[in-house]
């Protein structure tokens, strides 16, 4: 009885230690930076009227400010990254204990929604625009497709 318990203990301990080295056969991973902005969120912005403090009050501080010949450009960014992988060799570790090659197919992408505002010297909105690209990142199984 004690011997059986010992065996059980060592099997469990071994599996628990193994968990540090094991990667699952399938993985979905996602990374996001900041919160998305919609066209509705920025509908209050009017070129030539809305000022910087009004925008900061409603949207918060921008993520980036750049200097350009046309004025100062402020950018709000939402970045979205997705990655998917399948390791077809994962199950081989149960057939060949000392050799388990990775046979991985997977793919993903990273993209960003950007809301950009250009201010004039008096910090009034000169022009603004949205670029929606975050939907273009996707979990991808087949990496060979063009």
């Amino acid at each position: 009885m004690i011997r059986k318990l010992q065996t059980c203990f060592w099997i469990i301990a071994w599996l628990m230690l193994l968990s540090g080295c094991l990667r699952g056969p399938v993985a979905w991973q996602r990374v996001t930076l900041n919160q998305p902005l919609s066209a509705q969120d920025v509908s209050f912005v009017v070129n030539g009227k809305t000022s910087l403090p009004e925008i900061v009050e409603k949207l918060g501080a921008p993520n980036q400010m750049l200097s350009s010949n046309g004025g100062i450009v402020a950018r709000y960014q939402f970045t979205d990254g997705k990655y998917f992988r399948v390791d077809f060799g994962w199950g081989l570790r149960f057939i060949i204990p000392f050799y388990s090659p990775d046979l991985v197919l997977g793919g993903g992408g990273m993209s960003a929604d950007v809301f950009q505002v250009t201010y004039n010297d008096h910090w009034v909105v000169q022009d603004h625009g949205f670029a929606f690209h975050s939907q273009s990142s996707e979990f991808r199984l087949w990496p060979f497709k063009d």
Partner: protein
């Protein structure tokens, strides 16, 4: 009428034990993929109280630097304005079995100086709500 002999009972018992062990092993292997919750940050979280001590039209570059520290980035405008950019990133990552999700939040502060080196404006939005730990990647 059929009756279960002691041999049959032993076979059934062995089978039951075998399937229980298999279930246990599969469960352990699945759980073996593990879970993790990780937190990280980049830069110092700037105190709103410190920011309020910066006075528009009064504070200069040196005073701003003494309150907020050296900026992470300096933007120079063609018309002589300088912008000090301070940023802080917060990261929360959750990993459960085969799913993982990492959320990153940035808090940015911009201090704009006029050509004389005096603060013209401070751009600091309301503090963003804290990030959540998530592991589900599909929402």
């Amino acid at each position: 009428m059929n009756s279960i002999s002691s041999d049959d009972g032993e076979v059934l018992s062995t089978r039951f034990r075998g399937s229980a062990l298999t279930t246990w092993l599969v469960l352990m292997i699945l759980l073996g993929s593990g879970c993790a919750f990780v937190r990280g940050n980049y830069g110092e979280d700037l105190n709103q109280g410190d920011i309020s001590t910066i006075k528009k039209g009064v504070s200069n570059r040196a005073e701003v630097a003494s309150v907020l520290g050296a900026p992470d980035r300096i933007i120079t405008e063609p018309n002589g304005h300088d912008i000090f950019h301070y940023y802080h990133y917060d990261v929360k990552s959750g990993y459960v079995l085969i799913f993982s999700r990492t959320n990153i939040k940035s808090d940015d502060i911009f201090v704009i100086f006029n050509s004389a080196g005096v603060v013209e404006d401070v751009i600091a939005g309301k503090k963003k709500p804290p990030l959540e730990f998530q592991f589900w990647p599909f929402d």
